[in-house]
């Protein structure tokens, strides 16, 4: 194992992007993502990274400029959060349609209103279906390790799709953690230079973003869907190579003490670290509980999730955003859909937790896990529980 250094996750993530030898950055400040682009501008202005840093006038233009950069063949990176992601929304759908492998870090944050800079998943849940590969990092080390994995997947000739690395705002982004850095040689060995098959080149003109008449549009959209579904195998490869390089194992679906569990909690993002402690506490009491969470979110790892849940009788689902007007929220909807065709259909208990930065404690997680065990022992499932909300 290499030497660890104590560094803020955002800074490590920016260092990792720089060490991927990114060539173009289009960025706009928004909390809590700002440290990433600030640090990247230092890399560029100190002459340590040969790249163009374009401080655009909005996130809409950040994504638009990023597409222009990627279209001429530059390895392109950006980062955002919350309202910034929402402002990009229109262009987010166009990036994968144009097969431009931009990589973007998203420090997950709540959406207005009321305005809130704190962490939940309202931003990314709103942009679930944009057609990007989406991966979650749960701590600073994962932020550092997964940036090169994102570029490797995005630029792979079998994929060529933009990729988002999600990580929790503040809770991860502003945390100082011991992080093991890779060497530049490891980056270069893991990530080959960007070599696009099609680009804007005056020697070989192409048109990008042509009109999709009704005879074309449907097939174009389906081709994009197939490309994204096929990316799963490449993500597996990228994680396997990453393990060979630095010895840390990443899976499409991560589990914690799920194999023999009587109840499994499904959650996304950094909540898992709190939940693991709660699982350990309950295990000490002889209560068999475990965790499942997606590392790869899009393409959705259906088979891997079904396998991870196995025959567990009760599954709990944590949502960190609301699907307004629906009694089942986004993550719960996905897991309900997952089990519709599954050979075994467990009882499903739904929770909403930690909206807008509301603190999530180990006690909250123990309560949720105990609740799952009650359902296992015959208690009614009940409606979605809003954990930690004042009555």
């Amino acid at each position: 194992m290499g030497k660890r250094k104590g560094v803020e996750s955002s800074i490590a993530l920016a260092d990792s992007a720089a060490m991927c030898r990114i060539e173009a950055i289009a960025a706009y400040p928004i909390t809590p993502q700002t440290h990433i682009v600030e640090h990247l501008s230092e890399w560029v202005n100190d002459g340590h990274l040969e790249a163009e840093f374009v401080p655009v006038e909005s996130e809409h233009s950040a994504m638009s400029a990023a597409l222009g950069m990627s279209a001429v063949g530059a390895r392109t990176f950006t980062a955002t959060s919350s309202q910034g992601l929402a402002l990009m929304h229109e262009i987010l759908f166009i990036a994968p349609a144009m097969r431009l492998p931009v990589v973007m870090a998203v420090a997950n944050r709540s959406l207005s209103g009321p305005i809130s800079i704190w962490n939940d998943h309202s931003d990314i849940m709103t942009d679930r279906d944009i057609g990007w590969v989406q991966i979650f990092a749960e701590n600073g080390q994962e932020c550092f390790d997964l940036v090169p994995a994102c570029f490797r997947v995005a630029e792979d000739k079998r994929v060529v799709l933009p990729t988002i690395l999600n990580f929790d705002g503040f809770v991860v982004s502003h945390m100082i953690e011991p992080i093991e850095f890779w060497t530049q040689e490891q980056f270069d060995a893991y990530l080959p230079p960007f070599d696009p098959q099609i680009k804007l080149d005056v020697r070989k003109p192409v048109a990008m973003g042509a009109v999709g008449i009704p005879e074309i549009y449907y097939e174009a959209r389906l081709a994009q869907q197939n490309a994204l579904l096929n990316a799963k195998a490449v993500v597996v490869e990228a994680f396997a190579e990453l393990e060979k390089m630095v010895g840390r194992k990443y899976n499409l679906v991560e589990t914690y003490k799920a194999d023999d569990a009587d109840a499994i909690l499904y959650l996304m993002g950094s909540l898992s670290e709190t939940a693991m402690t709660a699982v350990d506490n309950l295990r000490k009491q002889g209560k068999k509980v475990g965790l499942v969470r997606p590392r790869l979110w899009r393409p959705f790892p259906t088979e891997e999730l079904v396998a991870a849940f196995g025959n567990v009788p009760v599954v709990g689902v944590c949502d960190r955003a609301l699907a307004f007007g629906h009694e089942h929220h986004m993550v719960a909807q996905e897991i309900r859909a997952l089990f519709y065709d599954a050979p075994h259909r467990p009882k499903l208990v739904e929770f909403v937790i930690g909206l807008g930065g509301r603190d999530v404690t180990i006690g909250d997680m123990e309560h949720i896990l105990n609740r799952l065990l009650e359902v296992k022992n015959g208690a009614p499932v009940g409606p979605v529980e809003y954990v930690g909300v004042r009555k």
Binding site: S58, A65, G209
Partner: protein, 312 residues
Amino acid sequence: MIEQYNVYAAKLLPPEELFASGHKACQGCAPALALRYLMKALGPNTIVCNATGCMEIVSSAYPDIAWGVPWIHVAFENAAAVASGVESGIKILQRKGKLAPGRINVVAIGGDGGTFDIGLQALSGMLERGHNAMYLCYDNEAYMNTGIQRSSGTPFGASTTTSPAGKAIPGQKTVKKDLLEIGVAHQIAYAATACTSYPFDFMEKVKKAFSYDGAKLIHILAPCPTGWRTNPGEVIKHGRLAVQTGMFPLYEVDHGRYKMSMDLPFLKPLKMYLSPQGRYRHLSEEQIAIIEANLKARYAKLQALCRITAEV
């Protein structure tokens, strides 16, 4: 040769059509002419970033692409941002030796809706950051692509589908936004107006713009017979009248110095320009007098700016 003798002849232009015929523009479409002239002025070492709009739609219905150069369209309001990215990408790839050195002309193209209105912020960003790129606004004075709705480039009094000539409100209530002055306020290297009825003036301006590093803006009036409700066979005449009546003066601002592009001994009566156009048919004598007084004042102001900035 053109530059040396300042003599123009169509046969001196390159015969290559980098904006090919066969696109789907309406009869008599002057914006399509603007693109044809633009490409003749720029040649093949050019990358075009096109905003959503008439020209994007008519030139790119897959697989019928009218463009002989690399072309990218992302969305409506962001042509200038995409061009900023393209220019920055080229810059770094050339600096790293991944792309052959040499000038590549980066052009962003948008209509008046895509420029005056929804794309103004991105345009301001591109100009302020000084990207080595040109923004071309082809101005047909309304959202023609969606069916002739008013934009902030629509002149006072003009009837459009969202500023109809009604009994209570006779057409567009506001005056045309001064796009070029917004460009000039960014202290860019070069800004100019042009008109498709004066192709050589336009092409010379395009070449001059690209003789400078940094951001540049050309605002070209391009009549739209469909939206203006005019005879498609007379768009050249109507463009000339726009210039000769002072409705759309041709001038350039070269590093802050204003210069009229042609000396008009007098301004032709405005009615000559307005009366063939269905969009102005409803105007009263009083309204025409107001428009004419305004344009004369603006013309005089431009002449004064030419005098003042020549001295500084």
